[in-house]
């Protein structure tokens, strides 16, 4: 239940639509790098998320524990990623394999440029988007915060454009709010900030800007107490969304008194 629900129907938000999917929670959460699968499951639950990202990797023969033992696929929508791909062809291959599992037709498309920065390769990302959209995938595409490439990805048919707040796993938050604002101004598809979230206020900032949601992983998974941090992220996401919908006051250079200035 969202915190806003407790204050009555009046403040209920519309659902987040991603293609044919609908979500009440606007927080998307990754499943990587938790201290244990058990803690991951608890953190996902605490975050209130309804969509979790996963990676596609070789089956390990004779390994008994599976991620999917800890994820209720009736409760969570699965968003497979193409992490670790450095070309359009590799990413397309991984996306096709992911769909073949029969668990999701969504893909979090990421085509990276190099291992050090993990910044997206915009040209390969655009190529892969075009192909996967044609093949009927629901494409949620990870990109830089460049408004031009964001628009081109939307034009190529991406269901959702997901600019990075800052580099993957860096915890630097939303570094260029102005770029996110420019992306939001013209976007007709949901804009989800993906990557770079370090703490709750980073999520709130993205949501206050008017993003439709936030995707994060490391910020929860590597916190000292992932489950508690998951709650913090959930509340920040809701707070930021409520603040955005409320319409904030403009910033002023000078003071403006809150109490009457006359009749005393």
């Amino acid at each position: 239940m969202l915190a806003a629900d407790r204050t009555g129907e009046k403040f209920q938000d519309k659902k987040l639509k991603v293609g044919k999917y609908e979500f009440t929670s606007r927080l998307f959460v990754g499943t990587g790098k938790y201290p244990s699968m058990k803690i991951m499951a608890e953190a996902l639950e605490a975050s209130g998320t309804e969509l979790v990202t996963v990676a596609v990797r070789r089956v390990k023969i004779n390994e008994s524990e599976s991620l999917l033992d800890y994820i209720d696929t009736k409760k969570y929508t699965i968003l497979p990623n193409t992490a670790g791909c450095f070309s359009a062809d590799e990413a397309i291959r991984v996306a096709r394999l992911a769909r073949e599992t029969g668990m999701s037709d969504m893909v979090k498309l990421e085509v990276l440029s190099d291992e050090k920065t993990l910044l997206p390769d915009p040209i390969e990302t655009l190529k892969a988007t075009t192909v996967l959209v044609k093949e009927g995938f629901t494409v949620l595409v990870y990109t830089s915060d460049d408004p031009v490439i964001a628009r081109k990805l939307e034009d190529a048919g991406a269901t959702c454009v997901m600019p990075a707040g800052s580099p993957i796993g860096s915890g630097q938050g939303v570094l260029n709010k102005n770029n996110i604002r420019i992306i939001l101004e013209s976007a007709k598809v949901p804009i989800i900030v993906d990557a770079g979230v370090g703490t709750a206020s980073d999520v709130a900032i993205a949501m206050e800007l008017g993003c439709e949601g936030v995707l994060l992983n490391t910020g929860i998974a590597h916190a000292k107490d992932p489950v508690r941090m998951a709650i913090a992220m959930k509340l920040a996401c809701e707070s930021g969304r409520l603040a955005y919908l409320s319409g904030r006051i403009p910033k002023r250079l000078y003071a403006r008194a809150s109490s009457p200035e006359k009749d005393f």
């Binding site: 790098k33 023969i61 990557a195």
Partner: protein
Amino acid sequence: MKVILNGEPKECPEGTTVEKLLDLFKIDKNRAAVELNLQIVPRKEHAARILKNTDVLEVVTFVGGG
């Protein structure tokens, strides 16, 4: 005969199908996708597709990721 399964040579009987190979190595069919010599084998063809000596298979599933 010998096939390459996820990069490792594995022995299996002549006439083994994709489905039988998954069973042989206790791989959960409902959570895996199979690529045979770089071509995806759709799930509904697993039971019928017979493997040949030196075939290269990639079998993938979902793991934790962001």
